[in-house]
Every structure is written in C-alpha cells, then in structure tokens.
C-alpha cells in the first residue's frame, strides 16, 4: 500500500471543504479523482502532499505519516504535477533538472544530469532540451512538468488535471505516458480529471467526490450511469466500443436546467 488516506478532513477558513475521506492506492495503479467543479479535487491532492494541512485525519505514504516529514523529504516521496506552471526563460533541460532539487545539496551531480537526460529521451523531448520554456506550446510545457515530476524519482505521482489545456493528440500522448511510467516502474499515480472517457480508458480505480466527501470508489469498469448522474446531475449512457467504455451525455433541456 503506497498511499493510505485515513478519515481526512479539510476546511478553508473553517468552512468544511473535505470530510471523511478514506482510501488507499496500490503500486502499479492509477487512481482518478472525479467530481464536479469546486468539489475539492485539487484540495485533496494538495492535502496529500502537505501543501495544505488537513484539519483532521492522516496521510500515510509507504507507512509514514506525511505530516511528520519536512518539505524536501516529502518531495523525495511524492512527485507533483501542478495544474498550471509558469513558463520562465530557462531551458527545458534546466526546468526538468529542477525536479532534482530535493536531491541536490550544492552542486548538480552527474547522476542528476543522467536522470534528466533519461527522462528527456523517455518523453521524446530531445529536440526541445536546450530551447527556452517560455517559447513552448501548452502540450510541450505539460510534458516538461511531467518530466520534472518523474525525475523526482518518487514512488507516488500526483497529477492535477494533467490534460486540461491540451488538444486531443497531446491528451492521449500524456495519459499514455503516465500509464506507461506507472506500469513500467511499478509506481502509483493519483490524478484529478474532468474527462470521464479518458478516466475510463487510462485509470484503474476511480473516486467520486460529491459535497466534499467520497460518493463512490472502485474499479473504473464498475462506474454506472446512475453514479455519474447523481454526481454530476446529468443523465448519461455508457456504451462499449472496441472494448473501451464510452460515456455519452444525454441532452439537457434548457428550461429544465434553469
């Protein structure tokens, strides 16, 4: 069990946002956190890597309470791909090398350089390595963020809407990469997402959040139209195409919605 969340609660200035959150994540699996806008998906991720302090409950990574670790120690155990990163005038190589920050004391070692080089090759970023990040497209930036989290060499990856600003090809590529890394290296991934179809296709487990708490959890194959309807408030059909489940939303009547 790489990650165990036990009865976690969190509130922004005493207004409860999350409550009674408990779940576990295993190595080699991707868990996707789903739910409507503002339900607390990002907040939950930030509680896991202690960017936010939960008001109640425990987060255990490999059996150790995250609250008892300092920030660098946490960064050695949890890689984090934030929803946005700001492009500055540094090269892609240096932007990725930053992920070695928790391991670097004073000087960048040869090992750090080799790891970055390896990650760059793995993600097919060779041709961009010495280009400035502030001249790159959204898809390229997202790959660099992913590479930065990968070179942290952690057993747990948190990804906050890794595909939210990407086109179809980049979405597929990034999610495929994440899945491959998780399976090949036997690490665990937890990501938030809005696209249910991508979730069904790339994740192993799901977690539905509704009103700040867990509405349902399990294998993605078990997601039913009824669940989606009660979480998102919209009727759907789930079809199968070439073995993949596909979620089709039903029309919303405008008068009904208003």
């Amino acid at each position: 069990m790489i990650l165990k969340i036990d009865n976690l609660a969190f509130g922004y200035s005493s207004r409860p946002t999350l409550d009674k959150i408990s779940f576990t994540v295993k190595r080699g699996e991707i868990t996707v956190i789903l739910g409507p806008n503002g339900v607390g998906k990002t907040t939950l991720l930030k509680c896991i890597n202690a960017i936010l302090k939960p008001s109640k409950g425990n987060v255990l990574v490999d059996g150790d309470a995250i609250a008892s670790l300092d920030t660098l120690a946490i960064a050695k155990r949890i890689g984090y791909v934030a929803q946005y990163s700001e492009p500055s005038r540094v090269t892609a190589f240096d932007a990725i090398l930053m992920g070695r920050r928790p391991h670097i004391r004073w000087r960048v070692s040869d090992k750090d350089l080799k790891i970055v080089d390896s990650a760059i090759k793995r993600l097919g970023l060779d041709h961009l390595a010495l280009k400035y990040v502030d001249q790159m497209s959204g898809g390229e930036l997202q790959k660099i963020s992913l590479a930065r989290a990968l070179v942290q060499e952690t057993d747990l990856l948190l990804l906050d809407e890794p595909t939210s600003s990407l086109d179809l090809k980049n979405q597929t590529e990034i999610l495929g990469l994440i899945k491959r890394v998780v399976k090949e290296h036997n690490v665990a991934g937890v990501m938030t997402m809005h696209d249910l179809n991508s979730a069904l296709r790339y994740a192993d487990n799901y977690l539905f959040l509704k009103n700040g708490t867990i509405y349902g959890a399990g294998k993605v194959e078990e997601i039913s139209p009824g669940m989606v309807e009660s979480v998102y408030g919209i009727g759907v059909e789930i079809l199968r195409h070439n073995g993949y489940p596909v979620i089709i939303p039903k029309d919303i009547q405008i008068e009904k919605a208003a």
């Binding site: 890597n49 960017i51 920030t71 660098l72 120690a73 946490i74 960064a75 050695k76 949890i78 890689g79 984090y80 791909v81 934030a82 929803q83 946005y84 990163s85 700001e86 500055s88 005038r89 540094v90 090269t91 190589f93 240096d94 932007a95 930053m98 992920g99 920050r101 928790p102 670097i104 004073w106 040869d110 350089l113 080799k114 790891i115 970055v116 080089d117 390896s118 990650a119 760059i120 090759k121 793995r122 390595a129 010495l130 400035y132 502030d134 963020s145 930065r148 989290a149 990968l150 070179v151 942290q152 060499e153 952690t154 057993d155 948190l158 906050d160 890394v181 290296h185 690490v187």
Partner: protein, 356 residues
C-alpha cells in the same frame, strides 16, 4: 522509480560552459573598465602606471595619492554598489514575480531619502558628505546615513510585514511598495517645504547618488554586506528558479515559497538599504542590469545572479567614469547619468515587451 539509461548530454555541458563564459567575459570587461576608470580624470594616468601603482610599485607620489586615495575607492564603490543594486533588483523581480521590482520601484529609495531629509531637518545633522559640497559643511554624515538606513529598512519591513499577513503574495508586496514610496515622497516634500536654504540644499544633495562619498572603511562595510548577500542569493538560486515556475510547482519540489520570498526580500532590502544609505539614490541600475542579462542569457538564477552582479558593476562604473568626464571640469553625480540612461532603456523594455 529509476532512470538509469541516460548519459551526460554533451550539448548541455557545452551550453553550461557558454553561460559560465558570459559571466567570466563580463568579469573581464569589469577588470578592464576598472583600469580605464582609474586612468581617466583631471590628471590622466597611463594604463601601465595604473597597473604598476595597483600592484604596489610606486610610480610617482602624485599617482599613488590619486589612485589609492581618490580613484580606486570611488571606482570600487561604483562596482560594489552597481553589483549590489543590480543583484537585489534581480532577486526582487523574481521574488515579486514582477519585472519592475527594484529598490527604486518599491519605495525603499524614497524611504531612504526621507530618512536623510529627516536627519537633516529634525535631528540637525544639518549637512552632508558630498564630493562637491564646499557650500555644505559636513558635521555628522553618519547620522544621515543611519537615518536613511533606518527608514529604508522600515519601508522594507512594512512591505514584508504586510506580505506576511497576506501570505507573501507578489502583488501585495508591489502594491505596498508603491503606496509607501508615495507616502515617503510626500513626507520628504513636507520637510523640504519647511526647511531653510542650507537644510534644503543638504537634503537635495543627499538624493544625488554619488559613489565618491565613501571612504575605504565605508567601502569595506558595503562590500562585506554585498558579498554576504550574493552568497546567500546564490545558495537560493534553485529556489528562485522554482518560484519562477509557479508556487504550486515549487512546493511540489519541496521549496517553501513563502519563506524563500520573505528571506529574499529581507536580504535584497538590506543590501540595497546599506548601499543607498552610504551613496544616496542611484536609480535604474537595479532595473536595467538584470533585464539586460535576462535578455542575453535567460532567467536561470545560477547564471543570472553572478552575471547581473558583474554587469551592474560595469554599468555603474562606466556611468560614473562618464559622469566625471562629460562636463569636465565639472563632475556630475553618477545618479544623474544613470537616470538619463535608465529611463530610455526602461521605456524600451516596456515597448519591446517583458516576459514575466
């Protein structure tokens, strides 16, 4: 997770060498500029004699006095002040996520000017140290310096305190700085309105930043503070890079962004306050030098900071040399020149569009 199939990228190594080379080249230009600056003046000293005199081999007694007592301390003060102001500008820009960050734009300079005016008027130090102040006598320059330092640190303290309350967000720091700048300017004007002729001229003289004001002892102190802060900033280079990539990303790699911001602001304010207190207000070096270097070698603080220090030194030393010569035999305070040069560069940067 293991990525062990990578090598050391030769292209990256070459790139690092290039960036290091830029800093070394700048340092080389600085050394040449130093010899040139010492050589030029009312009495011209040949380059060879400058080098000999610096090496301790006395050429003539006159050269010894000119070099060691007048031009060298002034040139070194220009270098140290230029480097310190430029580096603190670069750090403030990163920490505040604002291309306009500098001691000048954050009201720290204005607070120092108020402190000087306050000491002249209220504490009766009545006069000031200036290289061209026959009319204005020096009674207690240290009181003025201390007052300037006190008020600039007070401004920096208020900025960081407000930032602390509002979670060290960049906008809060910048806005507080702007508000404080206009507050201190207003307070200075009030003092000036009620000042008599002698006091008024002392106040105005103080605001002309002039690197000829310092003695060896004062230079040593400024150099020490600048050096310590430079080491501190370099040790934090990775943290500033991480903060540039966004708060969330930085936290994800274990950087405590708020703390890095506050400490960066405190150190940058400290070093610029010390410099301003001793040499007066020198605008734009803290703004222009970092932006020039950013354009040439990018935002990576591992290279940006040392290169900015060298460039700031070159800029201020060159400006000071020109200021000494341009209206000879009249000697202009360097701040007049930096403002003349700085404003067009500043507008150029705005039109060309800055990133960040």
């Amino acid at each position: 997770m293991h990525f062990n199939d990578g090598g050391i990228s030769r292209a990256y190594t070459a790139y690092i060498v290039r960036k290091t080379g830029f800093t070394l080249a700048m340092a080389g230009i600085l050394a040449m500029m130093l010899i040139l600056a010492i050589s030029l003046g009312a009495v011209n000293i040949p380059f060879a004699d400058v080098v000999k005199t610096l090496a301790g081999a006395s050429v003539t007694r006159q050269f010894d006095i000119i070099v060691w007592n007048i031009r060298l301390p002034q040139a070194l003060t220009a270098i140290v002040a230029g480097a310190g102001l430029a580096v603190s500008g670069a750090v403030m820009q990163s920490v505040l996520k604002n291309p306009l960050g500098s001691p000048f734009t954050l009201g720290i300079s204005h607070a120092a000017a108020f402190g000087a005016a306050f000491s002249v008027m209220v504490m009766g130090s009545g006069s000031m140290a200036s290289s061209f102040s026959d009319a204005v006598t020096i009674t207690s320059p240290y009181v003025t310096t201390l007052a300037a330092f006190f008020f600039s640190m007070l401004a920096a303290g208020i900025i960081t305190l407000v930032a602390r309350i509002r979670n060290a967000s960049p906008e809060v720091m910048v806005l507080t700085g702007v508000a404080l700048g206009s507050l201190f300017t207003a307070a200075t004007m009030l003092l000036q309105f009620f000042a008599d002729d002698v006091q008024l001229s002392a106040m105005v003289f103080w605001t002309f930043g002039d690197v000829a004001r310092t003695s060896w002892k004062e230079l040593g102190f400024i150099a020490l503070v600048t050096l310590v802060s430079l080491v501190f900033f370099l040790a934090n280079a990775w943290n500033y890079n991480a903060a540039d990539a966004g708060d969330e990303t930085a936290r994800g790699i274990g950087v405590r962004v708020e703390r890095v911001r506050l400490m960066g602001m405190v150190m940058a304010s400290l070093v610029s306050s010390v410099i301003i207190a001793f040499v007066g207000i020198i605008g734009f070096v803290g703004l222009v030098a970092p932006h020039m270097v950013r354009r040439l070698i990018g935002d990576d603080h591992r290279f940006l900071l040392p290169a900015t220090a060298a460039t700031g030194g070159v800029l201020l030393l060159a400006s000071d040399t020109v200021a000494r010569l341009i209206l000879s035999p009249h000697i202009l305070p360097v701040s007049v020149l930096t403002s003349f040069l700085g404003a067009p560069v500043f507008i150029y940067l705005i039109i060309k569009g800055y990133r960040r």
